[in-house]
Each structure stands twice: as structure tokens, then as C-alpha cells.
């Protein structure tokens, strides 16, 4: 662990960031080790391809300042983001956000219809807000609000659980939203979203 931290720190410090990034650049490879060779996500690390540029910047800053504080962030991303300077952050975000996102499609297809209903309408009788009001009708996200479409089931489910436990509770309604969701509703939402396709260019 100690060696890993040191390695991440050295790599981060050694980044040079003149001009647009390429997939082979050290800064990008530093991300794709965990997030998948094409940044489509891998295991517990979420897809970064096609994610909103402003969101990526905002989150890298939140890791560096320790505002985003759920388990895997404290373990990995705090160190990965610790020594990125501002231009590295912006270049990485620009590069990753322009990659075409692929849908993970790893959710339960039988829960898709229920998940879609919650995403589009919420559950007014249970005081659950409609996700699309902030994340957009195609779950494409906007500005600092992340694209959710096609993220992996495992990532989406875990994040909603973590929000509900009160992690990462700065300046967003997500803890309140997640607390109102039952485990079955979280499974339905994560299943639906894992199948949603999208283009990195769409607004």
C-alpha cells in the first residue's frame, strides 16, 4: 500500500501536460490502469469515457481536497489526484470526456422497466424525486452533474448505497435522494441505467 501510494505520487508529479493528451500519455495510462484500458470502467472503478468534463474536473478536485470521502476514493483516488496540477486535471477531463462511452449492460434486464419509471417519474407517493430532472432524460448529465447512462451496475448500486450512508455529502441533493430509495429500487435504477446508451457529444 505504501509503495502504491509512493508510486502514484511519483507518477502524478512526473506528468507533463503540454497540449492535448493521447491515450499513451502517462497521465491517461495512470487512469486506465484501474478504469480499463479504454476508460470504459473495470470492476469497481467507474467508466470515465464520455463522462461530463466539468464533473471530472470537479471530482478530481474533490478527491484532492478530500471532500469526496467514500471508501474506494479514500483508498485510491485521494492519492491519484493529490499531485495533479490544474492543467493536468483539465487536460485529463477534456480527453476522457471526449471518448465514446459504452454501456456496461451488467444489470438485471427484468428490473429495467421499474428502474426506468423511477428514473423518469420518481415515486411521488414515496417522496422520491425524478432522477431525470437533474441528470437529463437520457441520463446524459450536464455540467458538473454526471452522466449515469451505461455506468456499471456494481458502481451505481454501491454509490447509491454510499450516498445513503452519508458519504460525500457536500453540496448535492444525493444523500437525501439515496436515503429515500429502498434496496430494490436501487437495484432497479442501477439495472436500468447500466443499459442506457449515449454519445459523448450529446448535451
Amino acid at each position: 500500500m505504501k509503495r502504491f501510494r509512493t508510486k502514484m505520487a511519483i507518477l502524478a508529479i512526473s506528468l507533463t501536460t503540454a497540449g492535448p493528451l493521447l491515450a499513451d500519455d502517462l497521465a491517461v495510462r495512470n487512469c486506465t490502469w484501474c478504469h480499463g484500458t479504454a476508460a470504459q470502467g473495470y470492476s469497481k472503478a467507474p467508466r470515465l469515457a464520455g463522462q461530463r468534463e466539468d464533473y471530472l474536473i470537479n471530482q478530481l478536485q474533490a478527491f484532492a481536497t478530500h471532500k469526496r470521502d467514500e471508501f474506494l476514493s479514500t483508498k485510491y483516488m485521494w492519492y491519484a489526484a493529490a499531485n495533479l496540477d490544474s492543467s493536468s486535471v483539465h487536460n485529463l477531463a477534456a480527453f476522457l470526456s471526449a471518448l465514446p462511452p459504452e454501456a456496461a449492460k451488467d444489470g438485471d434486464s427484468e428490473l429495467v422497466a421499474e428502474g426506468r419509471t423511477i428514473f423518469e417519474n420518481g415515486v411521488p407517493d414515496e417522496n422520491i424525486a425524478a432522477c431525470q430532472a437533474c441528470h437529463g432524460p437520457k441520463a446524459q448529465g450536464v455540467r458538473e452533474i454526471p452522466r449515469l447512462g451505461g455506468l456499471s451496475y456494481t458502481y451505481l448500486e454501491r454509490r447509491l448505497e454510499q450516498w445513503g450512508q452519508g458519504h460525500d455529502a457536500w453540496g448535492t441533493p444525493m444523500p437525501k435522494v439515496a436515503r429515500s430509495l429502498s434496496p430494490n429500487q436501487i437495484a432497479a435504477l442501477a439495472s436500468y441505467l447500466s443499459f442506457v446508451e449515449g454519445e459523448s457529444s450529446e448535451k
Binding site: E120, N121, G122, P124, D125, E126, N127, I128, A129, A130, Q132, A133, C134, H135, G136, P137, Q140, G141, V142, R143, I145, P173, K176, V177, R179, S180
Partner: protein, 216 residues
């Protein structure tokens, strides 16, 4: 399941009522009477999207400021969503989930809030916005906004407060006015805005939005 949910709802509603503290319940419009706890939970639900102090929120869509809004405007709009005089799929669902007996208390809470304006409007021709708001554009058949919305933009009865309304909400709602609002014809008060909206250019709308968004 229904019975369990009802019991949980009533228990938590009662607990919150007794504690007189804000909190979350699963109480819904069909499941519980409009107890203080159920109303409080509904208020929390409103503020999920409209901001913790109902100051508005900028998501994919911009959720309008409800803080300090005229009670009769909010009540009329909630009915308009139900009666499809105002077409908004998300808010139609939301309005169906609000028990009618909750509405006076909810609206009173919203109206009593007074957070500072959300801000963030891009810098444009705010002087033009003030001029249109105060005096209208006689050559374009645009009446002075202040005539109905008041010189301080606080609104009156079913005419909304515009002071502190979010820039992006103002621009968006004026740009889609005739397809969303006044669907009930002339008896809907929103109908009156149709010619005025049609006579404003996008640049004038942006100037107006910037002006009112900064008003306290």
C-alpha cells in the same frame, strides 16, 4: 406490503410529529392523512429538487425558486399541472403525489422562506432588462412587467414573484411559454402572457431574466 408501509409511515410520521423535528418518512399522499410529519416529509421532497431553502436548483432542467413565492401562484400552478393547463410531465406526477390538505401548509412554508438569490446569471444588458421590466416596450406592444408583477417583482395573488428567480428558468420558461402554459384557454391566467412573450426577442428575454434574477 401495503399494510407494512402504512404502519411504518404512520409510526414515523407520529414520531416526527412528537419530536417536532424535520426528517424523512415514507408517508405518501394515499397512505397517510396530512399529519405534520407527512407534510414535513413532502416539504423535504420538494426541496430535493428546488433547493434546501427553495432557492431553486440548476440540474439538467432548472428548478425554479419557490422561496417567497405567492401562495396563490403555487396553488394555482399545482392545480394547473393536474388539470393539464400547464404541461410538465415531471410536475404532473409530483402534483398527483401531494394530498390537497397538505397544500396550504406546504405553500406557507415556501412563501415564508427568504434566501438570497441563486445568482450566476451571465453578464448582459441588465439596464435593458430593467427598462423593459419598469416601462415595457411600447413599440413592440410589450407592457411593463411591473404593472402586474409589481415594482419590486414580488408578484400578487396568482401572479408570480419574479424577484430572485433563476436566470436559466426565466429564459427557458419564457421560450416555451405557449407550448407549456395556458393550455386551458383564456380562463387560465397564464394565457395573458402569450402575446407579450411572442413580442419579446431572445436578447430581451435574457436581459429581463438577468435583471429579475438579481432582485431580492
Amino acid at each position: 406490503m401495503k399494510a407494512v408501509r402504512l404502519r411504518v409511515a404512520l409510526t414515523s410520521a407520529l414520531a416526527i410529529f412528537l419530536a417536532s423535528a424535520p426528517g424523512q418518512t415514507q408517508a405518501g399522499a394515499q397512505d397517510a392523512p396530512a399529519t405534520a410529519g407527512a407534510t414535513e416529509a413532502k416539504f423535504e421532497y420538494c426541496t430535493t429538487c428546488h433547493g434546501p431553502s427553495a432557492q431553486g436548483f440548476r440540474g439538467f432542467y432548472t428548478m425554479p425558486r419557490l422561496a417567497g413565492q405567492q401562495p396563490q401562484y403555487i396553488e394555482n400552478q399545482l392545480r394547473a399541472f393536474l388539470e393539464r393547463r400547464r404541461l410538465n410531465p415531471v410536475m404532473a406526477n409530483v402534483a398527483h403525489g401531494i394530498a390537497p390538505e397538505m397544500i396550504p401548509a406546504l405553500v406557507a412554508r415556501m412563501s415564508a422562506l427568504n434566501p438570497p438569490p441563486f445568482g450566476g446569471a451571465p453578464n448582459g444588458d441588465i439596464a435593458l432588462g430593467k427598462e423593459i421590466y419598469t416601462n415595457g416596450l411600447p413599440d413592440q406592444n410589450v407592457p411593463a412587467c411591473s404593472a402586474c408583477h409589481g415594482p419590486d417583482a414580488k408578484g400578487q395573488r396568482e401572479i408570480p414573484r419574479l424577484a430572485g428567480q433563476l436566470y436559466w428558468y426565466m429564459v427557458f420558461t419564457l421560450s416555451i411559454w405557449s407550448t407549456e402554459r395556458g393550455q386551458g384557454g383564456r380562463q387560465d391566467i397564464s394565457w395573458i402572457m402569450r402575446p407579450t412573450v411572442a413580442n419579446l426577442t431572445p436578447k430581451q428575454v435574457e436581459a429581463l431574466a438577468e435583471y429579475v434574477s438579481a432582485l431580492r
